[in-house]
Each structure stands twice: as structure tokens, then as C-alpha cells.
């Protein structure tokens, strides 16, 4: 057993375990079991030393039984999660029994597999770096196994050389190697939080919101919209039952998918979306979605077949702010005016007074005036509303609430006033993050930016956004929620948000920017992006050349790496001898085979007396390089100077 290799493997396991905290799917058994087994191995009590194999077999069998029992009881879709947890535990278990080099090698491979499995669940920059460290340690343990006892620094040097030379190969394979289509789709991470597909403001007494990221948007060829215009719509709710707003049932009416050529039109917005478990994706309402699975619906949504279960990247092409928004012109249906007759009588009465007004604009202005006059308060802790006539209670009694209350009530009021209206939920706002040292900035939208607003139909203008929350707290749409609460003076609400200090936010923003780039360029580089890239580089039939291209690129990178390796492994003195010989050769001087340098220099000096000084100096420097103590060796400058002194004669000739 090689103790150095074992130490490296234990370190790799410890790092892997730290990385598991970023994986939400980690089960408590793995989180506790891995460090326990690790500690047992480090402690290495005598009974374990004597019966290594039987210990690990017993624990392994127990684990597998427990897992099988759990898998048969639990959700069958989660088998991968269970399998990964089992793998992490088994990995710790093999550490108990490694004794011979063969077992140590297999343990290193198992570590690599376990690290890869962790990468399946946690793909952000931080966890990826931790996984890379674990993988490097596993490779180092293999290296230590095949190097005998070598010092830490020389092991590190060899590891750097090995990994450094294989990284270009990895990049080539990553960019060019064909990606198979998934044979079966594994369930990755689920939604962390998200918007629900219905709105029932009366049932939420207190709203706690996280500052977890919701999505990140990168704009190319266009400036980001000003803060007041940052509305990212997700769901349109047009069914109202007197209390609850919900989306219309059934499949949405969809526009035709974007064609390939249009998908490259500038300006573009790249959106990296965290899992939401919804089939609706946020967007600003303009642009052509790509990949093709994403389609625009008639009510102004972006829709795809599968719910967003893992982080995904999509693009909106031709997304300028003045681009056409065909969904705005889709006329309302009877649904958009429906208001249950039995509910909210006071709301209906108020709305009907506005119905006398000549046009929808006037009715909206009237509503705005009414809201401003009533002294509504914005709060995250509005308390519950009664089950019947909830909106009446909100409008005429409580008069405290958050965006959902305002949007739900306003849309209902508009329907009462005979204006087609609906509620839109999505995100509003986002912080602009500009990375230090230039580069693309991005707009960071958090879960706490979730918002609800209204849309009303005005003949001739189409569907128009109206945000009643902005009337009550104008700062809500100008800056973030935190500032708007400050403006409203509700200290209790601010505690709910737990905002971090500014510098920490700045650091977090920079990290998010790096993370975004990692996700955009590396983690979301999938089959369709690979095809697009190849088409861009090599034209339409790139797919046919992909194989030869891959082989050529591999050969090229490999040969450069190997030449570099040979150069690195040649001792410096041999290189310097080569320089010397080449310099002599240019002058037409060639030492005889087996002739000592001193003798050759003597001979050359007689042949070419004008070179004698330079030759003597060079030979002297060379022998000092070769044989003198470190203190007396000539510096690299001195060496090159003496080479140049001789080379000058070559030019003069």
C-alpha cells in the first residue's frame, strides 16, 4: 500500500464531501456516512486493520440493502439520486479496505465516478471548482502510486504537467466530439422555488422571499432596458372565479416555431433560467425564441413542451425594444371580461361607476386616482383575507398588501368597468452586474423580484400593461423591493428580506458574473449549440466533417503537447549545448565526433583567428554552466550575450 496515494485519496474524498453540500439531492445518510467512514479510516483501529475486508463487506451489504429498501418504497423517478448517494457512500467504504495497489487504483477510479455524479447535480462555478479539485486529487493518487516515494513538489509538478497537457485534449473533445442524444432522460434537480400558475392573494398572510437567483440575462447588440421597463412576463392569468386568478385550461394557442435563420438575428438576449417546474419561460415580450422547442403563445407567453426541471439556456433573437409584439394585438375573448356575479359586490359597484366613462383610458385614470386617494400600504405581511369577497376586504377594509393584491384587485375592477383585463405574473426588475475588467455585463434577476401586474385591452392599442403597485409605491419598479420597503417605512418587512451588506452584494455580483459566463459558455454547451457553432465555423455540412475534424484537432493538440513535453524534460544543459552547436554550425564550424569542446575551440581559433576571443568566451561560459557551482554559473543574460557575440561574426561575413 502506498501511504502517499492513500492520503491523496482521503483528501479527494473529503473535498468531494464538501462539494456534496452544494448538491441539494444529497441524502443525510451520505452526508453523515462519508465523514464517519473517512474518520474510521484515518483512526484505523486494530480490529479494522485485522479484518479490513469483512468490515467493508458488512457495511457495504448493509448500505445496499438499505438503499434497495428505500428505492422500493420511495419515488421510482428518484433512483438516480439514490444511486448517486449510494455511490458516494461506497466510495468512502472502499477507502476502508484499500491495501494493495490494485485496490487503490480502483478506488481512485471510483472517486472519479463519484465526482462526476456530483457534477450531475451541481453545475455552478463554485461546485465545479470543488469537483475539479477532487478529480485532480484522485489523479494525483494514481500518479503517486506509479511514482514510488517522491516529494510533494515533484508530484505536484508531474500532476500539473499531466493535467495541463490533457486539458487542451479535453477542450477539443468537448467542442468537437459528437454528442449522442439522451438515451433516457435522467431527472436532474427540481425547482427550488418559483411562480405558481395561479394567484390567490388572500391566502398568503406573510411573504418571505429568497434572494436565490431566478434568471440571468445577457444582452448582445442592445442596451438593457431601463429599470422601469424591466418586466419579464411568465404566465398570463385570465380566469377569475371571484377569489383566484388562474391560467386558462388546456393547451395554449401557439405561434409557429422560429426558423433557423431568424434565430441568429441581432440584437439578442441570452437567458439562463433556474429550474421553475413550469412550462412557461420568462421573457420581455419581444424577440424570436430559440431553440425551436420554445414557442410564443397567443396570450404573450413563451411555452415549451417539458417543464423546466434543470437550469436551461435560451435565446431571444431580434429582441430590440421596438420589435413587433404580435401577441398584443390578439383580441380579447369573453373570458377576459368574465366576473362572477355573486362575489365582491362593492368592487363591482365601484367598477360599474367607472363604466360610465367614455373610454378605457379614462377608466384607468379614474382607478389610478382612486388608488392614490385611498392610502393603500405596501407590505409583505398583509395577513389573511376572508374566504368570501376577499378583494372587497382588501380594497375597502384592509388596504394593505403586496403586488399580487393590487394586480388581482385592479384587474377585477377593470372587468367590472367593462374593460377586458387579465393578470400577468413574472419578474420585475433585476440588478445590473458589470464585471471588473470589462466583458459583458448581465442582468441578475432574483426570486424576490417576482411580481404581478395587470394588462388591459384598449381598442386600437392592444393589450397595455398597467402596474397598480407602481401607483402605490412608485419606487417598486424603479429599484428593488428592499428600497421600496424602505420608502414605505416598514421596518418589519425589511427584516423579512435579510439583505446583505453592499460590498458583499458587489462581491456576490462579480461571482455571479463569472458563474454566468461559466454556465453560458461551458455548462450549457449542448448538442444544438455545438451544431450551431460548427455551422458557424465550417459552413453547412460541418456535421459530415466532424469526425475527421476531431481527429485532426486531437492530433494537432497532442503533437504540440508532446513536443512541449520533450522540451520540458530535456535538461537545460542539453538545450544550451544545442544552441552552441547551432551557432557554430552557422559559422561553418563543426566539432569532430568525440572531440572535446575545448579541443574543438582550439582548432577553430587557429582556423579563424578573428573568432578566437568570442569562441574562447563561449567555451568558457559553457564549461562554467556545466560544471561550476551554482554561485559561479553565468546568468542566462551572460550566456546569450556570449552566443550573440559569436553570431555577430556570422552576420558580418
Amino acid at each position: 500500500m502506498n501511504p502517499q496515494s492513500l492520503r491523496l485519496q482521503l483528501a479527494a474524498l473529503a473535498v468531494l464531501w464538501l462539494g456534496l453540500f452544494a448538491v441539494r439531492e444529497t441524502q443525510p445518510l451520505a452526508l453523515i456516512g462519508v465523514p464517519l467512514l473517512l474518520g474510521l479510516r484515518i483512526w484505523n483501529p486494530p480490529p479494522l486493520r485485522r479484518h479490513r475486508r469483512s468490515w467493508s463487506t458488512a457495511i457495504g451489504l448493509a448500505l445496499i440493502t438499505a438503499w434497495l429498501a428505500g428505492a422500493s418504497l420511495g419515488d421510482r423517478g428518484a433512483w438516480l439520486v439514490g444511486f448517486s448517494n449510494l455511490l458516494w457512500l461506497l466510495c468512502a467504504l472502499t477507502m476502508l479496505e484499500v491495501e494493495r495497489p490494485g485496490a487503490q487504483r480502483r478506488a481512485a477510479l471510483l472517486l472519479l465516478l463519484a465526482t462526476g455524479t456530483a457534477g450531475l447535480f451541481a453545475q455552478d462555478l463554485g461546485p465545479s471548482l470543488v469537483q475539479a479539485l477532487a478529480a485532480c486529487l484522485a489523479v494525483a493518487s494514481l500518479l503517486a502510486l506509479e511514482s514510488g516515494q517522491i516529494s510533494k513538489t515533484s508530484l505536484l509538478r508531474r500532476l500539473a504537467l499531466l493535467v495541463g497537457l490533457s486539458l487542451p485534449l479535453m477542450v477539443v473533445l468537448f467542442v468537437l466530439a459528437p454528442r449522442l442524444s439522451p438515451i433516457w432522460l435522467l431527472q436532474g434537480g427540481g425547482a427550488r422555488t418559483g411562480l405558481s400558475d395561479q394567484l390567490d392573494p388572500g391566502s398568503i398572510a406573510s411573504l418571505a422571499r429568497s434572494d436565490a437567483p431566478a434568471m440571468r440575462l445577457q444582452f448582445t447588440g442592445m442596451a438593457p432596458p431601463p429599470p422601469a421597463e424591466r418586466y419579464w412576463r411568465v404566465l398570463t392569468l385570465n380566469q377569475f372565479d371571484g377569489r383566484r386568478w388562474s391560467a386558462s385550461p388546456g393547451e395554449p394557442a401557439l405561434a409557429a416555431p422560429t426558423d433557423g435563420a431568424a434565430a441568429n438575428l441581432p440584437p439578442q438576449i441570452n437567458v439562463l433560467l433556474e429550474p421553475t417546474n413550469l412550462r412557461w419561460l420568462p421573457w420581455g415580450g419581444t424577440g424570436l425564441p430559440w431553440p425551436n422547442g420554445i414557442r410564443r403563445s397567443a396570450d404573450g407567453g413563451l411555452w415549451q413542451e417539458e417543464p423546466v426541471r434543470s437550469r436551461s439556456l435560451y435565446r431571444l433573437a431580434a429582441a430590440g425594444r421596438d420589435a413587433p409584439q404580435p401577441w398584443r394585438a390578439v383580441p380579447p375573448t369573453a373570458d377576459d371580461l368574465r366576473l362572477p356575479a355573486a362575489s365582491n359586490p362593492r368592487l363591482r359597484a365601484l367598477g360599474q361607476t367607472w363604466a360610465q366613462l367614455p373610454n378605457p383610458e379614462a377608466r384607468i385614470t379614474a382607478a389610478q386616482g382612486w388608488f392614490l386617494q385611498q392610502g393603500f400600504r405596501y407590505t409583505l405581511e398583509p395577513g389573511l383575507l376572508p374566504p368570501n369577497d376577499a378583494l372587497d376586504a382588501f380594497l375597502f377594509e384592509e388596504q394593505r398588501g403586496f403586488c399580487e393584491h393590487f394586480a388581482a384587485a385592479f384587474s377585477a375592477l377593470m372587468r367590472a368597468a367593462a374593460v377586458p383585463a387579465r393578470v400577468v405574473i413574472g419578474y420585475q426588475g433585476g440588478a445590473w452586474v458589470q464585471p471588473v475588467g470589462g466583458g459583458h455585463g448581465h442582468l441578475q434577476v432574483q426570486q424576490s423580484d417576482a411580481h404581478a401586474w395587470s394588462e388591459v385591452w384598449i381598442q386600437g392599442r392592444g393589450w397595455i400593461r398597467v402596474d397598480p403597485t407602481a401607483w402605490v409605491v412608485p419606487s417598486r419598479t424603479q429599484s428593488n423591493l428592499f428600497d421600496s420597503l424602505e420608502a414605505a417605512g416598514s421596518a418589519g418587512d425589511r427584516r423579512l428580506l435579510r439583505q446583505s451588506p453592499t460590498w458583499l452584494q458587489w462581491l456576490g455580483g462579480q461571482w455571479q458574473a463569472l458563474d454566468l459566463n461559466w454556465n453560458l459558455w461551458v455548462m450549457q454547451f449542448d448538442q444544438s449549440r455545438q451544431e450551431a457553432l460548427l455551422r458557424q465555423w465550417f459552413g453547412a455540412d460541418a456535421a459530415r466533417w466532424q469526425g475527421p475534424l476531431l481527429l485532426m484537432a486531437l492530433g494537432f493538440v497532442l503533437s504540440i503537447g508532446l513536443v512541449l513535453l520533450q522540451w520540458l524534460q530535456t535538461p537545460a544543459i542539453n538545450r544550451q549545448r544545442g544552441q552552441l552547436d547551432r551557432c557554430l554550425e552557422k559559422l561553418g564550424l563543426r566539432p569532430e565526433p568525440g572531440e572535446a569542446l575545448e579541443a574543438a575551440v582550439q582548432r577553430f581559433s587557429q582556423q579563424r583567428p578573428e573568432l578566437a576571443d568570442a569562441l574562447q568566451q563561449l567555451a568558457h561560459n559553457y564549461s562554467r554552466l556545466r560544471f561550476a557551482d551554482r554561485a559561479q554559473k553565468p546568468t542566462p543574460q551572460q550566456w546569450t550575450t556570449s552566443l550573440r557575440a559569436l553570431a555577430q561574426h556570422h552576420r558580418h561575413r
Binding site: R106, L109, G119, L120, S147, I150, M170, P182
Partner: protein
């Protein structure tokens, strides 16, 4: 059963053909062979699993790791080969050694750069692991186990390395031609000892003993208690040279001659002789050796005498 035997024969024939002969060998593409190890196969399997996980989990993390593993595999093919390529092997002067023990065969190795984790194995011999070889010349002792006495070459040397990751094994066969002298294994046992009395000696070896007085001091040797006090060289002792005993020419009152015991098997008898010679030499006692069919080795002592006697045993 037949199949495996045929396979074994074929393998042996192939290995014989692959082996290079000659006093020196420079390892290059023509005499180095490389194949993935079992662990290399397992590694590829692991890489495939990572690739499938990445593809089906729609995640690039495992995919990147799979590609890193493939890159390491590809690179290690070359690195393993480079670890041996360019190495120069040459035979050195093998020292005589005894049969039955592990015998070191010296190989002079010259390398332009540092090499790691080389393994040497003579056919049927133990494995020798060399953690690293520095740049420049190095002398390596490769162990082998000679079966019997005589002048033997150690057979085929397999030189291999799995560095850096154990994914590939690269090897070369070399048959170093210089033979090594192998003495019989020393085994204590009966030996025919023949004392030739001094009187008889004077007649037989009259020429050998020169005049100059029987009482000439021949040498001083460490004193043994059983020799008594008369022999102690008092003068030297007074000078602080310790206990020494005086020995005189005329003491060779009789001479010991060894020959194989006819009662035991010849090889066994030679082994017994070998042990006896070693014992006598250790005690600085002179002896002569007569083996049937060989020039007798005259009475004498010292390192050269011992070597000559052992050589005679080895080649008898």
C-alpha cells in the same frame, strides 16, 4: 487443456521472437511494446459511464470529466512509452555469485532524462522495482535465481513500466549475452579431507619450499585462544597492535587437501566442498583442492586462491 497449452507455447515462441540480443540495447519504437492494462480497460469503462451520465443527465460536468479521462488515457499512452524510449541498456561485468540465492546481474543504464517506476524481471526471477532513474548513467542490479552452478546467462530480461497512471504497460525484452559465473550453493556436509604430512610434503613438494630456515617468520595473524601464550607476538602487542599470533614456515607441518566425497552425489559433494572452502577461507586456513578430471589446485590461501577454488567447483 490442450488449447491453453498450445496458447502457452505460442506465447513463449512469440516472446522469444520479440526478445532482442546483443551486449547493448537502445529502447526505441522497434523493440518497445505497449498495451492497455486491465485497469486501463476499467478506466475506459468508467469514462464511458461518465459520458453516458453526462449525456443523459443533460449536464456537462460529468461530460467534461469524461473528456478529461479520455485525454489522460490518450496522453498516458505516449507518456508510458516515453518513460522507456531512449533508455540505453548495456551489460556490465557480472560478479560471480552462489547458486540457490538471489543473484544480481549488473546492467548499466544510461538515460537522458529522469525515468519513473521501472520494473525489471528476469524470466522466472523475482521482480525488481526501481523507483526512479536519474539522468546520466546508473548501475542497476537485476536479480535472478540461477538454478545450478556453472557459467550462465540470466536469460530474457523483461523491462517494463506502467507510469504515469497505470493505464498502459510498456515493455521490452532483452537477452544480455554476458554470462555470470555461478558457484555451487554452499551446503554443509561431509567432504573428503586428506592431510599430507610434512615429511611427505618435503619429498613431494621439494621445489615448492624454498630454503631460508624453517623458523622463518611467515606472518602475523589474529591470535586465537586455543593457540596458547607461546605464540603471542609480545613485541607487537607492546606497541599496541593487539593480540597477534606468530606463524612460521615450518608450521606447515602438514597440508590439507580437499576433494569431493565419493559417497555422495557429485553435485551434492561439490556443494559440500563449497561450504567447506568458504569456512576455511573465513578462518584463513590454507587448503588445496583436487577434483577428478581437473588440474588440482595447489595448497594456498587468500582471496585469489579462494576464487580459483570456487571457480573450479563452478566449472567442474
Amino acid at each position: 487443456m490442450r488449447w491453453s497449452a498450445a496458447l502457452q507455447r505460442h506465447r513463449q515462441r512469440l516472446e522469444r521472437r520479440l526478445a532482442r540480443r546483443g551486449p547493448q540495447l537502445r529502447l526505441n519504437l522497434r523493440n518497445l511494446y505497449i498495451l492497455p492494462t486491465g485497469f486501463g480497460g476499467l478506466w475506459l469503462l468508467g469514462t464511458a459511464v461518465l459520458y453516458l451520465l453526462g449525456i443523459n443527465g443533460n449536464s456537462n460536468g460529468p461530460l467534461l470529466l469524461a473528456f478529461l479521462c479520455s485525454g489522460l488515457f490518450l496522453l498516458s499512452l505516449f507518456l508510458t512509452q516515453f518513460n522507456l524510449q531512449g533508455l540505453e541498456l548495456a551489460v556490465d561485468h557480472p560478479q560471480p555469485a552462489f547458486a540457490g540465492s538471489s543473484v544480481n546481474y549488473p546492467v548499466q543504464v544510461r538515460s537522458a532524462c529522469v525515468r519513473h517506476q521501472l520494473q525489471l524481471q528476469f524470466e522466472g526471477g523475482p521482480l525488481q522495482l526501481i523507483p526512479s532513474i536519474p539522468a546520466g548513467p546508473t548501475l542497476i542490479q537485476a536479480p535472478w535465481a540461477p538454478a545450478q552452478r556453472g557459467l550462465h546467462t540470466p536469460g530474457r530480461l523483461k523491462l517494463y513500466s506502467k507510469a504515469p497512471l497505470g493505464l498502459f504497460v510498456c515493455w521490452s525484452y532483452w537477452v544480455p549475452p554476458k554470462p555470470q559465473l555461478i558457484f555451487p550453493q554452499p551446503v554443509a556436509g561431509p567432504v573428503r579431507e586428506h592431510w599430507i604430512p610434512a615429511q611427505e610434503l618435503r619429498n613431494v613438494l621439494a621445489d615448492a619450499i624454498q630454503a631460508g630456515g624453517a623458523e622463518t617468520l611467515r606472518e602475523l595473524s589474529p591470535h586465537r585462544p586455543e593457540e596458547g601464550l607461546q605464540r603471542v607476538a609480545w613485541k607487537q602487542m607492546a606497541r599496541g597492535r593487539g593480540w597477534l599470533a606468530k606463524r612460521f614456515e615450518s608450521e606447515t607441518t602438514s597440508q590439507l587437501h580437499l576433494s569431493p566425497d565419493p559417497g555422495v552425489d557429485r553435485e551434492r559433494a561439490l556443494e559440500h566442498l563449497c561450504a567447506r572452502i568458504l569456512e576455511l577461507s573465513d578462518h584463513n586456513q590454507p587448503f588445496g583442492l583436487t577434483i577428478g578430471g581437473l588440474e588440482p589446485i595447489p595448497h594456498g590461501q587468500g582471496r585469489h586462491h579462494r576464487e580459483a577454488a570456487l571457480r573450479a567447483l563452478a566449472l567442474a
